[in-house]
Amino acid sequence: MSNIVVDKSKVPWWVSNVIVPLVNLTLALLVSGLFVFIAGENPIEAVKLIIYGSFGYIQGFAYTLYYTTNFIFTGLAFAVAFHCRLFNIGGEGQAYIGGLGVFLVAINLSFLPVPIVWLLAIFGAFLFGAAWAYIPAYLQSKRGSHVVITTIMFNFIASSLMIFLLVDVIRDTNQMAPHTVKLPEEIWLPSFEAFSGILGIKIRYSPLNLTFLLAIASLFFVWFLVWKTKWGYEMRAVGHNTQAAIYAGISPHKNIIIAMCISGGLAGLLGVNEILGVSHKIQAGFPAGYGFTGIAVALMGRNHPIGILPAAFLFGILYQGGSEVTFEMPNITRYMFVAVQGLIILFSGALENLFRPQIESFFVRRLNREVNL
């Protein structure tokens, strides 16, 4: 319990938005190091491997950016809903269903000109993801069922539904494994190798593709939508104080539905990267936890696109560098990095105020002293 009272108006923005999150991140990583140690490996060696794996060679760096793409989508998805005080932890299921949207549009409309297929597939991903978020949103707003439980349940239901479709309906019947046929090659999104080939650089395979630019565009889209439009203002008003919003004539129902649908749609865009960009088919369980990681990304990035970009990049480093670690260190599995995510959510989300008063008062005192001198 701290009894330090800090005058918020005197705290510089970079202390509360840069220094405090960095301290929290450091704490999370220190505890992670402890876990690596408990698992019987050297944490310092693990950090070296992470840095080498994610920056050390161009293919590794391309993988880092590929993961970053996925985390931007799922991080933004969580953040948009969070501004309306909704915990959309169903990004996993929404991404899964979004992938179905991409595939159905792309396979059925592949006769159209290629850029139009891409646009429609992106739209399909957004629409399917949004539709999967609509029901929990409706139930939250009209029936008061807590969105955390319903979105988690919708993850389970999405998983069952997709397995059913993959086994019985859209399976590639020439294969035993539950996945669909591949999309025709002409409509695949151009990969990073194709671009670097034009520039004369030859690299080995990487999953990085044009979707990265879509992710960057989504950052601007969300920033504009949430902070620069009337709807964004209304949505944040509902999240901040529902009673006051109602008094001001803002409908919480409408805003909850729109916020969740945009959130689900953004999660659905993960399908564009995975299906149109990388594997070109739907495989069972392709969202592979990216939806959950989005929660950590958003909370670390303080739910703002400017924060989400570096946070997504950091998780890209952890994922790509992490696969290097699991390759070199037999005692570390990829689940160790799931635990690291949990710690990051804990320290930069739930415990974000752990040292905030101390840090803020420290800087306020120092800065004031400088002024007085």
Binding site: E41, V148, I149, I152, G342, A350
Partner: protein, 323 residues
């Protein structure tokens, strides 16, 4: 006669499957009645399963494994309290953090210590709980009705099954008939009034979370040292959330929560029996749909088609003492 034994075995498995849900729902009642949201039941149940399995593997006694699980779960509850009661962090974020942390940690540690992807070694008979056969169960089996009821339904369960159903009246008594329970409910409804009466809101919430940790440990130990003989990855499979839904549907009340838990248990028992069965007129139902039934039921129940649930008034709000 075959029909009767089918029903008996269905009831028997309903009782067994509902057990972890009942413990978790009772744990949830303590946390939420005190005003603290607890979505971390899922993670704590998983952690308890892991600790109980590893503990009884090394110590050779399932009771010691259970004891360790209780200690660890109480620590996790205290962590939740530290974040959301003391530091007034967001309660839902704290729970999500604990859940994700534990999904990762249990699997990673199982892989590091035992070399198998998210599995702990199989426990032998000394290291796990065995079914308890009530006295005279075999002798009474042939008596119609009473024999079935006693020998096939009541007898032959793990100790946790009996404890779970005994915990319900106990929780009811604590929450509604003792002064501790009165304070607990008051803290969840109107913390500032309780504070005015000279009762420490923070201490009450920590006490409630401690009981919550003890109860949820039983649910986890039931999964890994009784019905299964080892821990495996994500073995709690959403039960923590189902229990929470049952508790909400049961209006934060032990008796109605128990009924909701039994309903979930029954759906699950039924889905196991329905797999591969040809139903008249409909044909075979896809196995994925049957497996999703408990989750769909959760959504339907939560939507409150059977009446609106009213949460404790101060739930989810950190208490800020005025100066």
């Amino acid at each position: 006669m075959e029909f009767l034994s089918d029903i008996a075995s269905l009831i028997n498995s309903t009782l067994r499957i509902s057990t972890p849900l009942v413990f978790a729902a009772m744990a949830g009642i303590f946390a939420e009645r005190s005003g603290v949201i607890d979505f971390s039941l899922e993670g704590k149940m998983l952690m308890a399963a892991f600790v109980a399995a590893v503990g009884s593997y090394y110590l050779g006694n399932p009771w010691l494994g259970l004891l360790l699980a209780i200690i660890v779960c109480v620590c996790l509850s205290m962590l939740h309290g530290f974040a959301s009661v003391t530091h007034k962090g967001d309660q839902v974020v704290s729970c999500v953090a604990i859940n994700i942390l534990i999904i990762g940690l249990t699997t990673a540690l199982a892989a590091a210590w035992f070399g198998q992807a998210g599995l702990t070694p199989t426990l032998n008979e000394d290291q796990r709980f065995l079914e308890i056969h009530l006295p005279f169960a075999d002798a009474l089996r042939d008596i119609p009705v009473i024999g079935t009821l006693y020998s096939d339904i009541l007898s032959g369960h793990y100790v946790f099954v009996y404890l779970a159903y005994l915990s319900v009246p106990l929780v009811f008594w604590i929450v509604f008939k003792t002064s501790f329970g009165l304070r607990l409910r008051a803290v969840g409804e109107n913390p500032s009034a309780v504070d005015t009466a000279g009762i420490n809101v923070f201490t009450m919430r920590y006490k409630a979370l401690a009981i919550n940790g003890v109860l949820i440990a039983f649910a986890g130990a039931h999964l890994s040292t009784a019905v299964n003989a080892n821990f495996f990855r994500e073995m709690s499979a959403g039960r923590g959330y189902l229990a929470l839904a049952a508790m909400i549907f049961g209006k934060w009340h032990p008796k109605t929560a128990l009924i909701a838990c039994l309903l979930f248990g029954f759906t699950d028992a039924l889905q196991i029996r329905l797999q591969g069965v040809e139903l008249p007129a409909i044909g075979e139902i896809p196995v994925q749909l049957i497996q999703a039934l408990p989750y769909i039921l959760t959504v339907v129940l939560l939507a409150g088609f059977v009446g609106k649930a009213i949460a404790p008034n101060a739930i989810g709000q950190p208490y800020i003492k005025e100066r």
